[in-house]
Symmetry: C2
Subunit: 362 residues, 2 copies
């Protein structure tokens, strides 16, 4: 079968099981244009009312003294760990083996910042206090990812989180949050964002995931920390002359999608629940903690991918294009994120999709 | 006098002596929206037709095998020098004391890449072959800025440029061009861009200066070099999920403003010529080499700034807000860039502005 490419297939579809549904460049620009005030001036080299007001808005929401908008999380997190390490006159940082810095940044923390890492916890499970207690190296910072994407957006229990933070503090280490998906953690903890962030020295959040922005990240902490972060951002090449398109879309996402997060999470739980009827589908975690879960599908991978493709072509319902690996050769992974597009489908329609997928792939 | 801030003053003005005239965020977005095809898809992590086609367009224009669009020149140039240094198993690079890497990047080349620099040439003059011949350190790369912004966008003569490049090549060093303003150099050399670039191993160009894009840079070289540059860009945090607003504006700038560069340069020469009548104004260089020159204005700095301010308030003609230093305490510097806004004014109007400025500041 000669398949259409990913983007061409999406273009054929009217419905999307996950995320918010794709936009063309024009649609995205039109969306942010409508959300921009008549007289709003461009930011200039990370200064100006537009960016300063937005940084303050997010800092207030997360209960931090200061914030800096950055082009990417890859930039923000290396910088955070470098500052914490320099302040403590060390170079060793600790994080989970599935950490973004370890797996998706070409080891920039080593190559650019000469930091060493201690990997804490097992590949398949959230980090625990018992894992931390085995660490012998003196560390300058502990990174915790809330929720942890590669484990199906799992979250530690509140008391466990507090105990891990206390462990780091007792050793003089800073605690940094990889909060790329922090926005989705609030319904699980049922506490204000500021309370969740209060135990962390620094927090990174992203605007282009569930919030649906074009791009962009923010790093938050106390004023002295953010002052240093701006210096490192400049060194990284991130003090960009104008970032207003990303900034405007981040602002729009925060205002329009943040209030919908409880709905996304609720619907994700409902979908996970209805999938328990299929013994060839398992969610990770079970039940999910946020609006995201990993779905493991049992069967022949090619048949599952072909079935999803055929449903997209015939019925205009896009689900996934390719599946990922699990430890078991007959179980295949799909990162399922409930967003605006998911909410447009009824639970009956979602259920019917999965029934048909499994039947076609049988 | 309680002055309006820079941006508020610009908002009061209908005419601008330099550049293209300011846009609000909405105006800029509207401009790129109009230049975007109905079905154009967003770039995704530096991939996709929109970005690949644009990289090829610029690579073809500059006669290079490959190109990578990057968020900033600060990112692009450190990366270029790091690759050249690593390839030659060294860490020493050479550039002029007014180099952007030395003065405007918080010494990122040292802090992130552990490169050492040899500063070649005198602060006030273009680098010469004689300067190079004094270099004792073995160097891995020579950076040449064409044209050199901080010297009033000066350019070396073609033969001098060739001799400097030959010096570096004879020592096994790579030659990198800081071509942030390369676009403006073509009328001076009267040679195709590809010929100017042909003697350089790597070239960086910018899209937000005379081309008027929102932001963005490009690094060009052979395919193996660009492959490595993409790796380092990722490490810097520059592999951004969507860059299409910057990309679309860069493309628009290249298509609409590049053809106008000869007009900008011609008008800049005419303005420099008419200013020779004022003995309190001197252009650097004299005559200018590109569409940019530094104007040194003689007089009391506060009076000159107040005069420019009053003309802006009373007549709606914006010129400068603050002046810079020169070696002489009674001469003050203004970076004068001829762009679309300058072309909208007649030479008579420009002349009248300067006459009035000097008279008011007398």
């Amino acid at each position: 079968m000669q398949k259409l490419e990913f983007g061409d297939l999406q273009k054929q579809c009217a419905h999307f099981l996950t995320h918010h549904g794709p936009l063309t460049a024009r649609q995205s620009l039109t969306e942010i244009l409508a959300a921009t005030g008549e007289d709003e001036r461009m930011d200039v080299y990370c200064a100006g009312t537009m960016i300063a007001d937005f940084e303050k808005e997010v800092a207030d929401l997360l209960g931090k003294e200061a914030a800096v908008f950055m082009p990417s999380g890859t930039m923000a997190q290396q910088i955070a760990l470098r500052i914490h390490a320099d302040q403590r006159r060390g170079s060793t940082v600790a994080f989970h083996p599935r950490c973004h810095l370890e797996n998706h940044e070409d080891k920039a923390y080593q190559h650019l910042h000469h930091l060493n890492s201690v990997l804490v916890g097992s590949y398949h499970n959230l980090l625990t206090l018992a894992d931390l207690e085995k660490v012998a190296d003196p560390i300058t910072a502990l990174l915790l990812e809330l929720p942890q994407r590669n484990l199906g957006s799992q979250l530690p229990l509140w008391d466990d989180l507090n105990a891990q933070v206390a462990w780091a503090r007792a050793r003089g280490a800073a605690v940094h949050m990889d909060g790329a998906r922090l926005w989705e953690a609030q319904p699980f903890y049922q506490r204000p964002y500021a309370e969740i962030c209060s135990m962390f020295d620094s927090v990174y959040v992203s605007f282009y995931k569930t919030l649906g922005g074009i791009s962009g990240a923010m790093l938050l902490g106390d004023a002295a920390f953010i002052r240093q972060a701006r210096l490192w951002m400049h060194r990284h090449g991130g003090q960009i002359i104008h970032q207003f398109p990303a900034l405007l879309s981040a602002r729009l996402g925060l205002r329009t999608r943040l209030p919908r997060i409880p709905d996304y999470v609720q619907r994700n739980l409902e979908i996970a629940h209805l999938l328990t009827q299929f013994d060839k589908i398992s969610s990770i975690p079970r039940p999910p903690h946020t609006n995201m879960m990993h779905l493991a599908l049992r069967g022949d991978r090619q048949k599952l991918e072909d079935a999803a493709y055929q449903i997209a072509i015939e019925k205009g319902i896009f689900s996934f294009y390719a599946l990922g690996d699990t430890t078991l050769p007959d179980w295949h992974l799909w990162e399922f994120v409930t967003g605006d597009a998911t909410l447009k489908l009824s639970l009956k329609e979602v259920e019917a999709f999965f029934a048909e997928l499994l039947e076609r792939a049988a």
